[in-house]
Structures are given as structure tokens and as C-alpha cells.
Symmetry: C2
Subunit: 349 residues, 2 copies
Amino acid sequence: MTIYDIAKEAGVAASTVSRVINNKPGIREETRKRVRDLLEKYHYTPNEAARGLVTQSSRSIGILIEDIRVSHHTESAYVIEQAMTARGYCCITLSTGPEEQKKREYVRILGQRRVDGAILIGSMLATEAVKESIEKHLKEIPVAIVNGALDLPNVYGVLTDEAGGIRSGVRLMAGKGKRKLAFIRDSCSPSNLEKENGFIAGMLELGRKREDLWIYRETDGPGRACGDKGAVKPLRTTRESLREGYHMALKILEDHPDVEGMIFSIDLLAAGGIQALTERGVKVPGQVAVMGVDNTIYGELCSPRLTTLDNKLEQVSAAASRILLDALEGKENPQKMMLFTDIIEREST
Amino acid sequence: MTIYDIAKEAGVAASTVSRVINNKPGIREETRKRVRDLLEKYHYTPNEAARGLVTQSSRSIGILIEDIRVSHHTESAYVIEQAMTARGYCCITLSTGPEEQKKREYVRILGQRRVDGAILIGSMLATEAVKESIEKHLKEIPVAIVNGALDLPNVYGVLTDEAGGIRSGVRLMAGKGKRKLAFIRDSCSPSNLEKENGFIAGMLELGRKREDLWIYRETDGPGRACGDKGAVKPLRTTRESLREGYHMALKILEDHPDVEGMIFSIDLLAAGGIQALTERGVKVPGQVAVMGVDNTIYGELCSPRLTTLDNKLEQVSAAASRILLDALEGKENPQKMMLFTDIIEREST
DNA sequence: CTGTTAGCGCATTCAG
DNA sequence: CTGAATGCGCTAACAG
């Protein structure tokens, strides 16, 4: 069913049908009704591809996400999708996985679909490979990054002060007499490196020496340094993260039996850590205080309930959506902005 | 950058460029190389909209999901997206929300985008409104439903035996001497009604009378019966579900202090229930056994760890993807199939 | 107020 | 082996 079929049956020209569909003025009410009735009768819906070809706009935006199963990324995608759908845009969501080559390829696919704009969720997507691919394939359209930034004229970055937040976390623990702290992070995303920097800054403030800090990076496997080109890390499921946190906590307990606090880069790791500590009979927070990041539901499920750094992902996502929509309408915004984090204090500190 | 631009610079016709792009035979290797180099030079990527217009295929499939934030739906979307992307299909994912009108509309949007196939995630999408909309807008393409079914010639349903699973759960509890059981469900999705039926069947087996069963349906709000047309339930966040489980457990404890077991329709509610029981000093599972459904990570986070009905969502999703891909290639499959559930027994029973 | 014409970018005939 | 012509379904000038 095309506008020509409708036009023929209505006894008008295709352009008239088009005008009716798009609510353009200058059609006699009688004609309009006749066409409308046929449209309804055949459940006609315009072909977006054809429409996009002539209007040079797909009315769609692309969302790139490293792993759709990570709950805080999903929350972000939800906020963005709601905002975009409300404005008539369709969202093409692609899970890239951790491989740089795939990230590159998926940026290209968005270009191929001629999306009107794109949003990248998570700092793991703010890589050199992605940057190059954006320059090649998404040069003409606005791109926003949630919790990341890339130095390109058409790319907007919305960040949060995670470093400052973690430093506050260190102070919080220190204020409770916990000064022997460990920091544990999973991947080496820019965001996690920021958190690590915050930890270092906080510990330096406490008078600790840089080389004595207890910083645990997740095992990247043998012979693969973090940031190694071509290092293909498989995607980790939530269950694996939980277990990883569990083992990390045990390892720290072994290395430093006098540890007084653990700050994990994400809630899920922290939840695993709490499970390990509890199982070992270590009191949380009496003996060891624990803190996570992201303010996810995981922190409310474990017991004791987890103190966490709320990095305002929802607000960041909303900001990124708004900035993208603004850009789509020609409105300008600063290329880079930062929101501030909050510590949600619960029972684990 | 179009094939014409490339063609002009290469000194060939557009059709030659098209042949090179699509790896068609019958081009001199020399010409092919010349064109390839230009394609590479300009980072050319064919316009999918134009291509789709002539090939009558968008190489995309639509995914409808009620709420992308619900973790087991997201897991499902992930599996599907992986399967589809591997075959060169793009996924257009839309969160419908609970309103029937929106579900209807989003089916139409998929039609408008001329998706080659569609997958609906969750039994909440197997409604009359969706059925009508599919008949209007997706009549020609294959549709698969994850954990649901709809009686339409082009719609495939993949279900799990949740009723049987819950009945087994009842037996499991009875086997441990817990015979005074309550069932609690959140929404009135077909899937939840199935679970309720399983509970009823199990309790009847235990010799209980149908009218004496302790079945708690979530408060739909004043004056809104479950299944009420036009009842607009707001989407509930995971946090609200957790709290709801908490309050439900308290209410049951009040109504029936002698309760010995609680079966919740989803893990998250059960996790909230466990929190309430623990807070009240009720031993789990000593005094009250608890069970959830979905085998999500939530069940591994709460303590004691939750016994749950694994409804094999991942397998169901994989099956739905495969069936859709088969249909896209003209291969036939039964219209309706069922997988079987397993109980994962942990500490709460 | 409505019809005619052209063209969006591409794949696919059919000639040559 | 390659080019010219056609049309996918639609919108947007431009006429009338």
C-alpha cells in the first residue's frame, strides 16, 4: 500500500495524499476527509525509508552501549530512549561489547543507517578507535557521550566528578577512624581511572605515600596489561562481577589483615566483597567499612546495605539527551560539562 | 558521498560501483580495485534507507519490551540482539511501557520502519491490543514472542512451564513440612496468572480448599481491577518492586502469623520479602521459607540466598531468535513451543 | 486548492 | 565486462 494506491482510489494526486498525511494546510476539508478515511481503511503507514531518503533525515538516533546487561547503563538507555521517543525519534540500540574493532564497526553502522544523532553510554566508549570512527562516519551529526568526553567538534561530553566523589569517600571513612583503605576496580575504563585518581588524592591527603597504596586492579589475564591494544576481554556477566568482588575481598584480607576499609569501583563488586567479609566473620562496618559506586539496586539488596557514590547517571543521561535534542534543533551548548556526585550513606560505613 | 560521486571519480558508471560494493562477480579486477580504493578513501558507506527502498528489506528487526530496566527482560534483549546482529540485522528496540495504547502505537512504528521481523519480550505484550495492531501493521512479517503467545498465523510463541514450576515449588516446600503457603504476584500479566494457577494446583494437591488460599495480588490502586481496560499503571522501578515485596510480606505476616512459606512471582519481590522477614526477626527458612522466580542476580545478593524458579529466559530468547531467523529464511517451525523450568534451590527454603 | 514533475541513493534489469 | 535506464515510495517545488 503506497500513497499512489490511496491517491488512485481517492481520485486525487499522490501529493495531495502526502499533504494530508503530513497535516499540511491548503486542502479542502472534504478532500482531506475522503483521503483520511482511506488511510484509515487500509491502515496505511508511510514508509520511513522513502520519507527519509527525500527529507534527508531518518528521524532516528543511535545509542551505543557496551553491554546492555549492565544495569546502570540500561537505566541510562531507558532515560535516553524515553526522551528521544517523546520527540518522535526512534532509537537504534547496539551493544558493542568490549572489543575496539566492534566499537568502530558499530559507529559505522549508525552512519550507514544515517541516524540524525548518536549517544554513547559509558566512558569505555570514549576511546581512540571510536574517535576515529566518528570522524569517518558520523562527522556531520551531533554525538553526546554519557560519562565521557572526546575532543571532536561535533561531540558533547557529560561527565561526573567521580574522582572528587571517591576522595570524599576516603574522607568519610577517615572520619570514622578507618585509615587503612584499599581500592578495587574492575576494568580500566577512563571512569575507573578517574576513581582511582580520586582514591590516590584522598589517601595522599591522609599523609599516605603513593607507593604504599593498596590498589587492586582486576586480573586482566596473563600478559595483558590494562589498555593493551587488541586485548580482547570477554564481557563479564553480573554474576561474574559479583564473584570477582568476592575473591578480591578475600585476597585483600589475606594481603593486609589489618585493612579497615574497601572502596570498590562498582556496587556489584562491593556486594561480592561484603558477602566474602560476612562469610569470613569480618564485621561490616565494624571491622571493615565498604563502599561502592553507581547507587544501583544491588546496594540495597546486600546486607548490610551498601554505602555508595551516586554518580547521577540519570541526570547525566537526561542532560546528554537534552543536549543532543538541542543540537538537532540548532541550539548550542557547551561541549563539555560536569555534574557532581553525592555519597549515599547506608549501613556499610 | 553517493555511488555517483564515486563513479564519476573512478570514471565508471554507478552500477559498476554498486557491483563492487555488493561483491558481485563480473568486474575486471583492475576496475574493482580502483573503485575499492575510492570507497576506502572517502569512507563511503551505502545509505541503508535507499538500499532498503529498492531491496524491499530494511535488514532490521524490531524488539518490543515493556520496560528495558527490568533485568530479565534486558538479558533477553541482549541475547536476541546478539543473535540478530551476528546475522547482519540491526535491532530497533522500543520500550512500550504498560499502556495498551502505547503498545499498539509502537507496533505501528515498527511497521512504519518496515522491519523484517519482530520480537516481543514478555507476556505483558501478548495482549488483545497488540494482537490487533499486529494484524494491521505487521501482517506480512514473522513475529516471535518471548514467554508468550498470540493466536495469529505469523506469530510464533515460545513459552515456559511456569505453572508446573510453581506447583513443584509448592511440593518442595510441602516436602519440608511447610504447608501454610502464600502466593504473591505483582502485575496481572498472563505469565503471572500462570504462576498463580500453578500455585492453586499445588495447594489443591495438598488438600487445601480453593477459597482458603492466601493469594496476594499487588494493589492496583483504588477502583482498578486487574485487567481493567484503560487502567494506566505507571512503570515501577526495581526499587519500588523491592519495597512492594517488603510491604507484602509484612501484610501477610499480620494477616496470617502462622504462615510457613511465601512464593513471590518475581525475585525482586521475594528479596524485599526476605528483608522484611529478617527485620521482624522471622527466621528464613526456619520459620518461613521463601521462593522467587526468574533466577536473577537479585536472588544471589540477598541473604539468605534465594531459592528461585529458573524460567530459562535465556533459552527462550535464543529459541525465539532462531525461530525468527528461520522464518526470515523461509524455514518453518511450530507456531508454539514450551520449555521446562527448573528450581534452583538455595538457602531460603 | 490540487496536479505535475523531479529527485532523494541505490540495485537491477537490459543492452552493448 | 560495463553503461544507461528504470523504479522503489515519498516530499517538495512549481504550475495551474
